[in-house]
Every structure is written in structure tokens, then in C-alpha cells.
């Protein structure tokens, strides 16, 4: 058992090291600007997957409209920086807040629905947002929103991703998160223990939407151009996020992080084989789902503790062999 203070320190050092290594490789020219771009996209996807995990994994609701919240954050923040000259950080926050509010507005009626019905309602919500944007001339309408400044650096994306993961981890390990878990596991039992299940479903939904909104703000200032297409802010994007989530394992934050990074990088690696990409990628998914139906991490977490135990196990077995 490693002491909490110590593990906290080790984690901070590790995270700083990752950042340092990326910057170092970048300055030596070993990482091209394109590579650093992909890493920024990894961070954005981490935020999206982890925030969806809060809704689908920890609270057990089935939302497939996550890109709707991404879209709100992306367009509002872009509108604010381009048309109103608002500072980027404030725009990120505004994007998150409006998405969170939308989460509240959708969550209150939609979360009375269960399972398939909720899935369809959230899917519908995502498409409504897309169609609204499609018809908004102020943000470019069907032509798309171009000329967005490139404010999203690797540093900002990385920091936002860390904050998101830490905040959601803290939430999950508090009474609030436990109430969400209870709702997921058995709503009737949760209610009989004093948990207002509607409240916690809506809370998880709003919090998840908030972070998806911040990811959206990073996304639009990363791409510099937003198009109201299904693959960028519509159901295709929602499904992409969902696939990452399911692959990493519902209810596992480390699983989400790993899956988001891996599934962002793999399509980039396969760019050279563009014509095979849509074959290799699905086959990979099918194989993983066949052999790991509960996802990579299957509800468990990768922690320093478990790593330490693993190392000790390896060492002690080496001793005796």
C-alpha cells in the first residue's frame, strides 16, 4: 500500500514528465507539429470520453447525444472569441457552462425515460442541436464557421484533460458519486436509502455535459473550422465517443483515458492505408469486444498501487524461480 500523499506526488511528477518529454521532443524536432496536434486531439477525446463515462458508465444512463454538448461548447466559444473578442479561457468556461445548462434542460425531461428510449431521446437532442446550428447564420450556418483562431495548444488541452479527469475522479469517489453508482446498480434500493435518483441522474448529465462543452471549445480552436456535419458534431461523432468509452470499459476512468488515446492515434497511424482503414479499425473493435466484452479495464482502475503490486509480484516470482 503506497501512502496517498506519496502517490499524489508521484502522479503529479509523472504528469509533468509527460508534458516535459513532449515539449523536449518537439523542440528537438523529433515530434513534428502534426504529432503534437494529434496529442492535443488525444486530450480533447479524453475529456469527451471521461465525461461520457460519468453519465453512461458511473450513473448507468444510456446517452448517445454527447456530440450535441460538444457542438454547443465549440460554437459558443468560437463565436465569443471571433465575434466578441473574449479571452480564450473565459470562452472555454462559457462553452462548458452553456453545455451544462443544456444538459440540465435536456436531462430533466429525458431522464424520466429508460434504456432505449433515453438513447433515442439523446440522439434526437444531438441532431436538434446540429440542425439549429445549421440554420444559424451568425455562426456560419451550413457553410461552416471558419477563421477561428488557433488557441488550443497542447499545454492547454493537456491541462484541461487533467483537470477533467481529476474532478470526475473526485466526484466519483465522494458521496455524490456513490449516489450515482447506487442509481446505476439498483434504483429502487438507492431510493429506499434516501437517494433522489432523478436529481443524481440530472447532476451527472449536467456535469458530463459541462466537460463535453469545454472539450468542444478546445476542439473548435484546434480545428479552426467547424462544419455542422454528422461526423464533426453529429451522431457519428457521438458514436465515436461511445465506442471509445465502451472499449475502455464503462465505469473505468483509466480505461477511458487509455482507449481515448489509443483510438485517436490508431486512425492517424492508418492514414497511410486510407482504403483499408475502415476495415482494420472495425475488425480491431470486434476482436477487442469478443475477448474483452466489458472493455479493456472492465470497471477496474489502473493505479500506482496495482502497478506496485504487479512489480512486486514480478520481483518475488523472479526470486523464487
Amino acid at each position: 500500500m503506497v501512502k496517498p500523499r506519496l502517490t499524489g506526488l508521484i502522479k503529479i511528477i509523472l504528469l509533468l514528465c509527460i508534458y516535459g518529454v513532449v515539449r523536449l521532443l518537439e523542440s528537438r524536432g523529433l515530434l513534428l507539429p502534426y504529432h503534437v496536434q494529434v496529442l492535443s486531439l488525444c486530450c480533447i477525446n479524453v475529456i469527451l470520453v471521461v465525461s461520457l463515462n460519468l453519465i453512461n458508465g458511473f450513473t448507468g444512463q444510456f446517452s448517445i447525444g454527447h456530440a450535441g454538448f460538444l457542438a454547443i461548447g465549440a460554437y459558443l466559444s468560437a463565436f465569443l472569441t471571433v465575434k466578441m473578442h473574449v479571452p480564450f479561457l473565459a470562452a472555454i468556461l462559457c462553452g462548458g457552462l452553456l453545455a451544462g445548462l443544456a444538459g440540465l434542460a435536456v436531462g430533466l425531461p429525458a431522464l424520466r425515460l429508460r434504456g432505449d428510449y433515453l438513447a433515442i431521446a439523446t440522439l434526437g437532442f444531438g441532431e436538434i442541436i446540429r440542425v439549429i446550428i445549421l440554420n444559424m447564420e451568425a455562426v456560419g450556418g451550413a457553410k461552416g464557421f471558419s477563421g477561428i483562431p488557433k488557441y488550443t495548444t497542447f499545454g492547454i488541452a493537456y491541462l484541461t484533460a487533467i483537470i477533467t479527469v481529476v474532478v470526475i475522479r473526485n466526484f466519483v469517489h465522494s458521496d455524490y458519486g456513490r449516489a450515482c453508482l447506487a442509481v446505476r446498480e439498483d434504483e429502487i434500493a438507492a431510493e429506499s436509502l434516501g437517494v433522489n435518483s432523478t436529481y443524481f441522474k440530472v447532476l451527472a448529465f449536467a456535469l458530463g455535459a459541462f466537460f463535453a462543452g469545454t472539450a468542444g471549445a478546445l476542439f473548435s480552436h484546434y480545428l479552426q473550422y467547424m462544419a455542422p456535419t454528422p461526423s464533426q458534431i453529429g451522431f457519428v461523432k457521438s458514436i465515436d465517443i461511445l465506442i471509445m468509452l465502451v472499449l475502455g470499459g464503462l465505469g473505468s476512468l483509466t480505461g477511458s483515458v487509455i482507449a481515448a488515446v489509443v483510438l485517436t492515434i490508431i486512425p492517424e497511424l492508418l492514414r497511410g492505408f486510407a482504403e483499408y482503414r475502415m476495415i482494420i479499425y472495425p475488425i480491431l473493435l470486434i476482436v477487442v469486444m469478443l475477448y474483452l466484452p466489458a472493455g479493456l479495464m472492465a470497471g477496474r482502475e489502473l493505479s500506482l498501487d496495482s502497478l506496485a503490486r504487479l512489480c512486486k509480484g514480478v520481483k518475488s516470482s523472479a526470486h523464487y524461480s
Partner: protein, 258 residues
């Protein structure tokens, strides 16, 4: 009879379509009573528990608890009033640890705010420590302190029933409803359970109402019994009086078979 009844149920009816599962039932419980609710299968016992805890809609009558009216309140509000229960078909959070099952039930007593939890303020740490300590205490009480880190679903049936009781206790209830707590237990476990229920009443000073089929256990344990048959309350009294009640004997021997 003193008038300071803690739980008052008057003319309670519950209807499922054409079936009146509970029919104009009235009874009351004094504080710190250990009472039993008995009757053949399908008599409506569980339905009464469900009505008391807000899990099924009441079609007629009134339920009050202390000075609070519980009729048709949502379950989480009723739980917050101090009514806790267990379920006939155990409803533990099977994929979570025993400790987490208990910590969840501390929910209504949690003080720290959402922001405290998101940023792990000192208050969060202090209270989480208290919550864990409370949960361990409750586990100690039901004799399962060593099982804290086990997944609830992995425990044997009898232990799951005790975890469910411990979880209900985390609410610091004034009234505890136990639905067939001894079902699926062996005689040894049943004996331990009997002791436990007595201790809960005597040490924690809570009112307990339990549903049980094991007549020996009920007669042994309860001070007051309510007998239900086809949704009607057919007898009320102490175990002795119930044993010699003609209608009760008929319901059990001549009825649909318990």
C-alpha cells in the same frame, strides 16, 4: 393505550388493477416496539412495506410517522424521515464492495457540498473518514467486519441479509422494516439474527416491524403481531393471543397454504 404512536396506518388500501392487495388496513406502532407482520403467502405483507416506503402508490388511507405524513411521498423522502427497510429479494448493490454499500446509505447525513467533493477540501476528507468509520461500526454490529472489502454479491445469502440490515442502519432510522430477514438462513444463522434484532431494538432504541414465516422466531421475538389475510388485517395482539385466535388458525390451516 398511550397515544404517542410513532407509526400510524389508517384505512390503508393498495390496489393493483382489479386486485385489492391491501384492504382498509389500520394499525399503529409505539416507539421501540418489536412487532411482526405475518400471514400466508400473497396476503399483502410486502405490499404494506412497499406502501410504507413509497415504493407503490397508495389508493386509499393515510400513513403518518411521528408528525410527518408519509402517504404517497417519494421513497427517498420517506427514507430521510427515518424509515429504513430491507427487501424480501435482497437488493444489495452486488457489484460494489460491502463497505461501499454501507457508505452509500450514509447519504442523508452527508454534510459536505458538491464543490468540497470536486476539490477534496479538508472537510471532505474529515467526513469521508467519519463515514468509513461509521460503516465499519455497523459491520461490526452485524458481525461482518472482516468482509468490508468483499463484493456484496459474492457473499453467502445469510451474510447478504445481514449486510442489508447494516446498510439500513447507516440511515440511523427510527423505524426499521425487515422483510423476511431469516429467509434462506440456516438454524444457526437464524439464532444469531434473532439476537441481533433484539440488540438493535434494545441498544439503538429503534422501532422494528418484521415480516417472517418462521413462526417460532416470530413468537419468540415479537411483542406484538399483526396478522394479514387476503389484504385484510384479521388479528392484532401479543403472540399468545394470536396463537389461540380462531381466525388466525383458520387462515393458516384452511387458507391457500402458507
Amino acid at each position: 393505550m398511550p397515544t404517542t404512536a410513532e407509526l400510524m396506518v389508517s384505512n390503508l388500501s393498495v390496489q393493483f388493477g382489479g386486485l385489492k392487495a391491501v384492504n382498509e388496513v389500520s394499525f399503529s406502532l409505539q416507539p421501540q416496539t418489536l412487532a411482526g407482520l405475518i400471514g400466508p403467502n400473497g396476503a399483502g405483507k410486502t405490499t404494506i412495506f412497499n406502501a410504507l416506503t413509497g415504493l407503490c402508490p397508495v389508493s386509499g388511507g393515510e400513513i403518518s410517522f411521528g408528525d410527518q405524513r408519509l402517504t404517497n411521498q417519494p421513497p427517498h423522502t420517506i427514507a430521510r424521515c427515518g424509515v429504513a427497510r430491507t427487501f424480501q429479494n435482497i437488493r444489495l448493490f452486488k457489484n460494489l464492495t460491502v463497505l461501499d454499500n454501507l457508505r452509500i446509505a450514509y447519504h442523508k447525513n452527508r454534510q459536505y457540498s458538491l464543490l468540497c467533493s470536486l476539490f477534496r477540501s479538508p472537510r471532505y476528507w474529515r467526513e469521508e473518514e467519519q463515514i468509513t468509520a461509521r460503516a465499519k461500526e455497523a459491520l461490526e454490529l452485524v458481525g461482518l467486519a472482516t468482509k468490508a472489502e468483499h463484493l456484496a454479491g459474492s457473499l453467502p445469502y445469510g451474510e447478504q441479509r445481514r449486510v442489508e440490515i447494516a446498510r439500513a442502519l447507516m440511515l440511523s432510522p427510527k423505524l426499521l422494516l425487515l422483510d423476511e430477514p431469516a429467509a434462506g438462513m440456516n438454524p444457526q444463522e437464524t439464532l444469531t439474527l434473532l439476537e441481533l434484532i433484539r440488540r438493535l431494538r434494545n441498544e439503538l432504541k429503534i422501532t422494528i416491524l418484521l415480516i417472517e414465516h418462521d413462526m417460532k422466531l416470530v413468537m419468540n421475538l415479537c411483542e406484538r403481531l399483526f396478522v394479514l389475510d387476503y389484504g385484510h388485517l384479521i388479528a392484532t395482539g401479543d403472540p399468545k393471543a394470536i396463537q389461540s385466535n380462531r381466525r388466525v388458525v383458520e387462515a393458516y390451516l384452511g387458507g391457500t397454504g402458507a
